[in-house]
Amino acid sequence: MGVTVLQPYPMPENKSGAHIIDYLSKRLLSLGATHAGQFLVDCETFISSPQPHNGTPGRAVHVLHNSEYPASTFSIMDSGTGKQVSLVADSIFDLLMLKMTNTFTSKKQTKIESRGARFEYGDFVIKLGSVTMMEHFKGILIEIEYKSCMILAYCWEMIREMLQGFLNINVGKDFPSYFAPQTIMTPMGQQQMHAKHNDMYEPTDTVKQYLEQFTNYRKHVSMHGGLGGQQQQPVHMSPSPVMGAAGGLGMIRP
């Protein structure tokens, strides 16, 4: 279990998703990586049933599974203000959510998943995932994990080099948006810049990154009119990091 970074792959216009995946797998295999099974990360969203009247969107609970942690279910609750509360639970949590149908309704159309092959290359674990939402292909998401390190700041350069090497794309020098320094409220009540790339990495960070990317994909779809007539998402889940109460961010509406 080490530092994991998600990298969305920019899709060229004329190529299909399967073709890209094939091309990247060939590159990895020729590099010397070994194919080691499949992986799946999926996300289901539950919206709180009685919608509040004053126009603020209801609370959303995202339930995610990661095949890398098969015994656990992750859930992130998004209140309307942009604050996220995350939970790691046993797999039995899914059954609990089934019982909560009175308070939370599941929006089946927004079930999104990233599925694909898993490669092991020395200390790296690289996953090539094709993101699909209700059988519609959305994009390609690369997940790279460096198993020997627990702090991003120590190994970001190496990960970046690895990504640039086999993906042949330009990866920015800055830390990914999830790890960017954020303003948080200390317990003393002051605002402070908190550098997430110096923290110990946790499995919930992987899942939160996935949620961020999935949200982007959903928004991307709803901004571009959507495929297959999906309804617009109440975008209360802001992809930007947690902001303090003093610096509240308004809702981003497409």
């Binding site: 890398e68 015994a71 790691v88």
Partner: protein, 642 residues
Amino acid sequence: MSNSVNISVETTCEKKIREIGYDGTELYQPAPTLSESLAKCAARIDFSKTSLDDLKKEEKTAAAAEEENKDGTQFQESLWPWDAVRNKLKDALTEICVLSDVISIAKDKRYLVLDPLLEEGDDTKPIVQVYSRKKAISQAAQVLLSGAERLRNAHSEQRSRNVSDFHIELLRLRQNWRLKKVSNAIIGDLSYRTAGSKFGMSGTFEVTKAEEASDDDSAISSTTSSSTATNNGMQMKASSALRVIVPAELQGVAYIKVITQKDQEDLCTAQVNLMGHGPNITAQVGVWQKTLEFAQNVLFCKELFAQLAREAIQLQAPIPHVVIGNQIRATLLPNIQLIISLCHSTTFDSNQPAPINDHDHVLEHSLHQLLREVHYKNSHHPFPHPASAPLGPSKKRMLAGPMAADRETLLDMTKTQTILEQIIAQAQHIFMRKRTQYVLDTLARDVKDPQIVSHWNAMNSPTMSCVKINIVTHGYDAIGRTSLVIHVKERSLKCICRDGRVMRLSYEPQELRDLILCQINSHQISCLVSLARCMAWTVLSNSNHLGIGKVEPLGNASSCLLASPNGDRMIAVQIRCDPQIDVKVYIARSPRQDFFPSPLVPEKLWENLGGNFKEVKFDKIEGKSFLNKMEFLMASLTSNTA
């Protein structure tokens, strides 16, 4: 003026109709006159009700008579309504007159005296009471005495007897074993089922009264014993001890024998004990308790052996395990075998000779403990016991979900070791430990110069032990000491030296020996360096691995070059550990003795360049140990001349 209103008051009762004429006129019965009504009321008075004695009798007779003469009296009533009244009044008057006569006579006190009744009747009552009570108490005493008599008889009978009562024995049996009454027979259970065992063999035994007459009822099977069991209900005065009948396959004595054997690959000499059925019932081994305990032990050993045999067949080992009859052979290390056998003797013979090979009691006990651990895990589930999740996973597995454990961790949790694997690991470790001890002890005995001191840890696990080895030279402990720690595992050793080097050795004893010899080698040189510093000699150079001379199996020579305090002497030491420690010492003097100016090197000053090294007969030097000799050598070569 108010006009008064006339209010008419009429009775509700109408007159009875006596006759209705043909023309419709109704003739009413005239209402009874006052005298008639009085007569009616007077006739209703029953004077007989005043006397209590005649009340009941006369009521009955009067009631009977009334029934009969109802018609008659009604007839007579109209004629003489006052007749009965008159008669009764007459009687009453007669009695009153008599009463007044009696009273007047009694008042005269001449012919009739009225005396109060004496109290003598009361005096007799307490005595009667006492008599009656005495009788009652004596009757009660009789009852109690007869009961006590019976108890005393029973007690004296019991004491006089040698054979104990069936029921007392049954009570004691019940305190130790689980018994159940099924129709007429008493069935007991001596299996480990309630302790968590899942073995198929049933461990039921039967409890019956032992027949005193016939001892060799060998044909008693469970069906016929039920007939003898019907006697259990009766209270038999000539009571006998109870007998337990255990199933045929559990009779006798059994134990598991574990032997580690060396260099015997000969399979045809393996003893095959066929566990046949011996005689049906062996002689009772002492009391029933011992019988039952032995039978339970037999069941336990059978279960253990069955489990081991099953695992031996299922496991894939590099050298496959062999199961023949009641023996399991497993290979621990090359040429070393572990033999687990189930010894079951149905004829109990207390003069049995001790087995020839002495078996490993520690491993046998370990086997018993391992099976008990399996039983325990079957019946005890680790906490927490959740209401909504499966029961059984360990605590680590329960926490794996909320702690986001990854796939490797989860896979590790699923790996379990079977009993056979565990016992093989333990046996291997015991063997490695013995071997390591042997190597260290022989080395300590053979190598006298630096002393090898080994400290074994008192606490160790069944599959790992640790030993700390100190190499010191006697007398020079403060100068230097080489220490290393050896972790003895099942098939390998791991040595950690003081400088942090970690070396992994295999099970060959020679590797450990070589390692210790190399450590002795480096110990000598490092102590010499420290000693030279104490003696004010300069260490010019030292090396642990020179790379000179012929190739040796144990690494190469280590060396040290020392210079005296005023530089006129040099000592060169070379230590090899060929098969033994071999020390070579050379000394050189600085102004050469054998310098002669030649045309090529004319100046005299070149004599200071240093002479040839000459070997010292090191074993002839005085000194107890290498360091001692070196100290003397250095002392003798130190000169005061500047």
